[in-house]
Amino acid sequence: MKRVVLVALLTAGATAAAGWWTVPLVAGAWTRVARRDRHPVRSAAVGAALAWALLLGIGALQGPVGAVARRLGGTLGMPGWGFVLLTLLFPASLAAAAAQVARPAVPR
């Protein structure tokens, strides 16, 4: 759990500082660096989703994110919760794929 939280904090910081494209970089780096993590892909994916959820939570303090979900979801033909889900699945998928690709090529 601690590892997931750590990945989440790293991902949230990178996203806030530079943008969405840092998600796979953080995930890949985590997989390479966190040698003690037996499930680095899972940590990266859950951590990325958690990171964006955290950022959405901070956004909710600044304005009506529910309205964003409803309007954007409607625009894309999905309910508001569907848009929230898409927002969390996207970084999770990015992180998982990047982590898988970045896993060491040699068994340890």
Binding site: W20, P24, W52, G59, G63, L76, L86, F90, L94, Q100
Partner: protein
């Protein structure tokens, strides 16, 4: 940790590539997901900019002194500046902050570059605009304004304000529409303001009278076509009061004749015209002698396409000792178009004068002409390449446009038509509106606006001294030899060119009339007896003018509340005129039980278009059925002016009533009206059941849709039930209505001026903001909000404050 199999690694590599691609680029209609979903810079960031910050500071290049913008509880900016240019600069800034995407879209619509923003589907719209010469004219007009002129300086100041916002706009504030389209806003310039102005002209001052006539003449000959699109309405209630109104003017509709082959030559190039949409406006003013509190009252409501965000943006500009005026601006146009200052209030309706003529040209090559014939000589055509680009900057099409000395020339069927349009020749309207905003009396206001050229407007003004006045103001061309502009003219001679413009003294106008009120509703402005020259043809029906004049005549103690109520009055002069004919036709066919039932419903109707009423459903179906039966001689898509129908109602034996599809039988008026009423009743029963089931309510049939500018359903307000219908004071089409009163205002010009108003939308263009559509419920109920008109920033009751200081925006 185990080593992943090569296949798994490859699959994940592919998945990663796909996700990165989808994150960075559009996939089909999906915008780049990364930029959209990013919780900080993506669309989620719009939540943080949904509401105005309580306090914001910004540097604005070019400011002479600091500007204080105080927003009231309706999100209206009250701009307190030291100079007018500073005020316009600030207005550009706050308008861009609230309506950036709309600014861009409107300018592109006027400049014919919509496809660059929204892609290929907009190409036909871009072509239509550029073929009218609007892109070329905008460039010429913008270049022709001297930097030191009031108009030029104002447009540049406004552009600087818009661009200052673009320079300091945080990434998260990028409007949603740009994110969905994967585009970025472009910088503002005076050219783009001129494009917005031309776009307004495209909506209001584009006339197709010659083409309507051609379409009818191609089917039934010149003589009949002339009556189907007549010069004058047979019922007169002009805005320049004339004694004894409403008055009847004889109109005889000759029988259908032989098709006009020359008209058919040109017709192939044009789509069916004369769509009956309820665009128009109302305004009226009452002199103190007829108001309860003995002060002048003024009301206005322009009817336009209803959109989200709205076409209007409210603002209040204060420059001490110079101007203190409140009103609505068109985003992109630095002027208070409709509004009031401390002493004078003004509002417009569209005049609908004919300011666009067409000439048949003889050219040296029917496919690729280089010259046109003029006074016996060949004259070179000006040629201009129009390159249409798409959203990825790709070239979608390249057209060669040709121009005669009159204006743009286009291929029309087997011939070529050139066009001259006053809108392409003037961009100085902004300066006139500025001078008018400073006026202290009606007469000062009228003088300031005397040079206003296009689009021609029926300008209604009232002041605190109790003066009321109206004038149809615009540049009205004079045709050669007293000719008309609703026919295609001979292009081979300069003798058929315009010879000048109407002098202002001859404009339709009135001040302080004996009747104590003035009103306009797009009706023919002058009684034909008072017309010395051709002003236009095929005028909109006078129904709204008849209704409002009837209400005004009946009330000699008018209040602001009465004015507000009239703006949504559901009564219909059109129904008052037509229904007795239907009932008489039913009475002339006794023994028909279906017809009798239909007549019972129609007779019981109070002729008011209220949401729960059943009469309008049957009546509108009967009018549609009548059109289908009556105009069988005309090709599909050509529906004559309702003036012709009104004339035929008093001519029961006219051969137009005969249905050619029933050989051996000659129908008369009552036969057609009775058949139409029967057809309408049966159709309505089929759709909604018998009337006793009480399913015929008007609100089931008639709903308003207020579409987002990109017609995205989730960003639109749809299915709104309102009172009113075709030709009521709050008008809208029967079905699929998306037009109506776009701004309602009532002003009381007492010792201290008071005003009320609203529009169907909200000040913010951000769909996430609570100010995006917050006024729609008020508008739907026909209510108005009190408009705050503070003298100082401290009087506003600030909901938010923006302080602008001189400096660099970056």
């Amino acid at each position: 940790m185990t080593r992943p199999r090569p296949a798994v690694r490859a699959a994940n590599l592919l998945l990663l590539a796909v996700l990165l691609w989808a994150g960075s680029y559009r996939v089909g209609r999906l915008p780049p997901l990364g930029a959209l979903l990013d919780p900080v810079r993506g669309a989620w960031g719009l939540a943080a900019t949904a509401d105005l910050p309580r306090r914001a500071d910004a540097a604005l290049p070019g400011l002479g002194a600091g500007v204080r913008v105080v927003y009231d509880d309706r999100a209206v900016p009250h701009i307190f500046a030291a100079s007018e240019l500073d005020a316009w600069r600030a207005l550009g800034y706050v308008t861009a902050r609230d309506r950036l995407f709309q600014l861009d879209l409107q300018a592109r619509a006027g400049g014919g570059t919509l496809a660059e923003l929204v892609g290929t589907p907009a190409l036909p719209l871009d072509r239509a605009v550029r073929e009218l010469g609007m892109a070329r004219a905008a460039e010429h007009l913008a270049d022709s304004l001297p930097d030191t002129s009031e108009a030029g300086a104002t447009l540049d100041a406004y552009a600087a304000g818009v661009n200052a916002w673009l320079d300091r706009m945080p990434a998260r504030a990028l409007p949603l529409e740009y994110r969905l389209l994967d585009r970025r806003p472009v910088r503002w310039s005076r050219l783009r303001t001129v494009q917005v102005l031309l776009r307004m002209n495209y909506t209001l001052a584009r006339s197709t009278t010659e083409l309507d006539f051609l379409a009818a003449a191609a089917a039934v000959g010149d003589s009949a076509a002339a009556a189907l699109f007549p010069l004058h309405w047979p019922i007169q209630e002009p805005l320049q009061p004339a004694p004894g109104e409403p008055r009847r003017v004889p109109l005889v509709v000759p029988p259908p004749g032989a098709p006009d082959s020359v008209a058919a030559t040109f017709l192939a190039a044009f789509p069916p015209l004369h769509a009956s949409r309820e665009l128009g406006s109302n305004n009226w003013a009452v002199a103190p002698a007829r108001t309860r509190d003995r002060v002048a009252l003024l009301a206005g409501d322009p009817h336009l396409d209803l959109t989200l965000p709205s076409v209007w943006y409210e603002a209040h500009l204060v420059v001490p000792g110079v101007v203190d005026a409140y009103g609505v601006t068109i985003p992109g146009l630095p002027a208070l178009v409709l509004g009031f200052n401390r002493d004078v209030a003004w509002t417009f309706t569209n005049t609908g004068a004919d300011v666009m003529d067409r000439w048949a040209e003889v050219v040296d090559d029917s496919v690729n002409p280089l010259r046109y014939r003029l006074d016996g000589a060949w004259v070179p055509l000006e040629r201009r390449l129009e390159v249409y680009r798409g959203s990825r900057d790709e070239v979608l099409a390249v057209d060669t446009l040709r121009f005669t000395h009159r204006g743009p020339m286009r291929h029309a069927g087997a011939g070529w038509l050139s066009l001259r349009w006053t809108a392409l020749e003037s961009a100085g309207e902004v300066a006139g509106l500025h001078r008018a905003a400073r006026a202290r009396t009606v007469h000062e206001w009228m003088d300031a606006m005397a040079g206003f050229a296009s689009p021609p407007q029926n300008m209604l003004v009232a002041d605190r001294a109790g003066t009321i006045a109206i004038r149809s103001t615009g540049r009205f061309p004079i045709r050669a030899d007293g000719g008309r502009g609703d026919r295609v003219l001979d292009g081979t001679t300069r003798a058929s060119d315009w010879t000048g413009d109407w002098p202002v003294a001859e404009y339709p106008q009135a001040a302080d009339p004996a009747q104590g009120f003035l009103a306009s509703a797009n009706q023919e402005p002058l009684d034909p007896r008072d017309q010395s020259r051709y002003l236009g043809a095929d005028w909109p029906p006078p129904w709204r003018a008849l209704r409002i004049n009837a209400l005004l005549r009946a009330d000699s103690s008018v209040t602001p509340e009465t004015m507000r109520r009239w703006q949504t009055d559901p009564g219909s002069a059109r129904a008052d005129w037509y229904v007795p004919y239907f009932l008489a036709a039913a009475a002339a066919h006794p023994g028909d039980s279906v017809l009798a039932q239909a007549a019972t419903v129609l007779a019981a109707w109070d002729r008011r278009y209220t949401a729960e009423s059943d009469g309008p459903v049957l009546f509108e179906a009967a009018v549609r059925a009548t059109d289908a039966l009556l105009w069988d001689e005309l090709p599909p898509g050509v529906t004559p002016s309702p003036a012709a129908f009104v004339a035929l109602l008093d001519d029961p034996g006219n051969s137009w009533w005969d249905d050619r599809r029933t050989p051996g039988r000659r129908e008369r008026r009552d036969d057609v009206l009775a058949q139409a009423l029967t057809d309408a009743y049966l159709t309505t029963v089929r759709e909604y059941g018998p009337p006793e089931l009480l399913n015929w309510s008007w609100s089931r049939v008639h709903r308003i849709d207020i579409w987002h500018l990109l017609r995205i359903p989730a960003l639109s307000a749809r299915g709104i039930a309102v009172n009113g219908g075709p030709s009521t004071l709050s008008p809208s089409s029967v079905t699929g209505a998306s037009e109506g009163p776009s701004w309602r205002m009532v002003v009381e010009l007492g010792d201290e001026l008071r005003a009320w108003g609203t529009y169907p939308g909200g000040q913010s263009g951000n769909p996430i903001s609570r100010r995006y559509a917050d006024r729609i419920p008020i508008w739907t109920r026909g209510e108005l909000s009190a408009l705050r008109f503070p003298r100082t920033p401290d009087d506003v009751g600030a909901a938010a404050v923006l302080v602008l200081v001189p400096g660099s925006a970056r």
